[in-house]
């Protein structure tokens, strides 16, 4: 049995006194594509952000390839790792955001190149080659020297995905990457993600696109009020939800 790619053990997170994640346990193997569904405020985004250490968490552990993320525990005392170490660990995961968050002062290619140069220590020329390769993969070869302001939302999101994937992360995190897009641009982004899934990229996707979750994922996780309520094979879960909560959620969502 190989080591899991990602493990979350009793993950707890609170904002002030409000507990948002109340002990999340989850194990993910390499190559899995897991969709996370659940109603608004159930903690999906927060969970992804903890994995990437964009949020502090107060309890439990997150392991990537067996390596504890964010905190060391020595003799029962929990200490935050150094900034440098955390920066290195963040590069193990790639993240795509709802709002794209491209760097507006850099061209598409430069957006992709920045991490390659600064973190992977590639030369400009090497980085440019890799950037062009990934921009090609998301169908944007012709737009490499365009700036974010010159690109449509769908194109921007594809650049953002290329920027994350080019870093060669162990795991990709997608947080509702199509929610900010006009309906006619959703398809092109989902197509890119499908392509990555088919190639065996390990992915955690928060999505409200039930049809997409159904088609692309090897597993679905249903979250509610800060815990995982149910998980399993998408066909099983969507057709025969095991809990009342999930049945309700599916009824209220657009999936039929």
């Amino acid at each position: 049995m190989t080591k899991p790619l990602l493990e979350m053990q009793g993950l707890r997170k609170q904002y002030g006194t409000v507990e948002v994640l109340k002990g999340v346990d989850c194990t993910m193997r390499q190559g899995e594509v897991i969709s996370i569904i659940g109603s608004s405020g159930s903690g999906k985004t927060t969970m992804l952000r903890c994995i990437n250490m964009l949020e502090e968490f107060q309890g439990g552990r997150i392991l990537i390839d067996g390596e504890a993320i964010g905190y060391d525990e020595i003799a029962g005392v929990r200490r935050r790792k150094s900034e440098k170490e955390i920066a290195r660990q963040r590069a193990l995961t790639g993240m795509a955001f709802q709002q794209f968050n491209l760097f507006p002062h850099l061209s598409a290619a430069q957006n992709v190149m920045l991490g390659l140069i600064k973190v992977k220590k590639m030369s400009r020329d090497e980085a440019r080659v890799v950037a062009e390769q990934w921009l090609g993969r998301v169908g944007l070869s012709a737009r490499a020297d365009h700036y974010p302001g010159q690109l449509s939302g769908g194109q921007q999101q594809r650049v953002a995905i290329a920027r994350a994937i080019a870093m060669n992360p162990r795991l990709m995190l997608f947080d509702e990457v199509t929610s900010a897009l006009d309906p006619e641009l959703v398809g092109e982004v989902l197509q890119v993600i499908k392509g990555l899934a088919a190639e065996g990229m390990s992915m955690l996707l928060v999505t409200h696109e039930m049809r997409f979750a159904y088609e692309v994922s090897s597993r679905v996780i249903f979250m509610n009020q800060g815990v995982i309520v149910e998980q399993g094979d998408p066909k099983e879960m969507f057709l025969r939800p095991g809990t009342e909560r999930l049945a309700e959620f599916l009824k209220s969502s657009s999936f039929q």
């Binding site: 440098k84 920045l114 991490g115 302001g149």
Partner: protein, 221 residues
């Protein structure tokens, strides 16, 4: 016609004094803008990234300086340092006062620009593994610079105008030279007009330069 010839003749006589005054004005302004901007960047960074104490100190600094008339700063700088025995000449004391004034403005402008950058920019940079220093250098600073350029040009022009206040402590900059010339030839209207025109030229140059840099660094969209 005769009046014009007379005026031009007087300008010719006073040319060296005028040029020296102009040179001093430009030197004061340049030094104050450069030193003030450097200091101001420090102030701005302190305001945004400092710990609570540092932020409080810098906030106090900018608020006090910005709430004080520049002339008061100039006089204070000139007299305070001489009473503690530190003998700054009028030129140094004046430049120091202007630089301090400039730094409070630049600091405040930079703070505003940095805080206006959406948090998503920092998060995206973190997510690809950039350290804070790298994030600042490659993502935040370049965006903030573009943002502050127009306001910074304004501040620079203000410094040129404020340099006239150094005439009060006897720095022979353009205004003081002009006054000296007028006391000899009594052509006050003409020579004040000439001085005004020269100040305008300097600031016009600054503005054009700013516009040029703005165009050069504009992000296509």
């Amino acid at each position: 016609m005769n009046d014009l010839m007379l005026f031009l003749n007087e300008v010719w006589i006073a040319r060296l004094a005028l040029l020296r005054g102009l040179g001093v004005t430009v030197s004061i302004s340049l030094l104050a803008i450069l030193a003030g901007s450097l200091l101001g960047v420090g102030v701005g960074l302190g305001l945004v990234y400092g710990n609570r104490l540092l932020r409080l100190v810098f906030r106090g600094y900018t608020d006090i300086i910005r709430g004080t008339p520049v002339l008061v700063l100039v006089l204070a700088s000139y007299y305070i340092f001489s009473t503690v025995g530190l003998d700054l000449g009028p030129f140094q004391a004046g430049v120091l006062a202007l630089a301090v004034f400039c730094s409070s403005h630049v600091g405040e402008i930079l703070r505003g620009a940095l805080q206006a950058i959406p948090i998503g920019q920092t998060e995206a940079a973190k997510a690809i593994g950039l350290t804070f220093g790298q994030t600042f250098g490659s993502v935040l600073w370049p965006q903030a610079l573009r943002q502050i350029l127009p306001t910074w040009v304004n501040t620079a022009a203000e410094m040129v105008k404020a340099s006239t206040l150094l005439s009060v402590i006897g720095v022979a900059e353009l205004l003081l030279r002009t006054q000296e010339i007028i006391s000899r030839n009594f052509l006050s209207l003409q020579f004040y007009f000439l001085a005004g025109f020269l100040y305008f030229l300097i600031n016009y140059g600054i503005e054009r330069l700013g516009k040029y840099v703005e165009r050069k660094t504009a992000v296509p969209s």
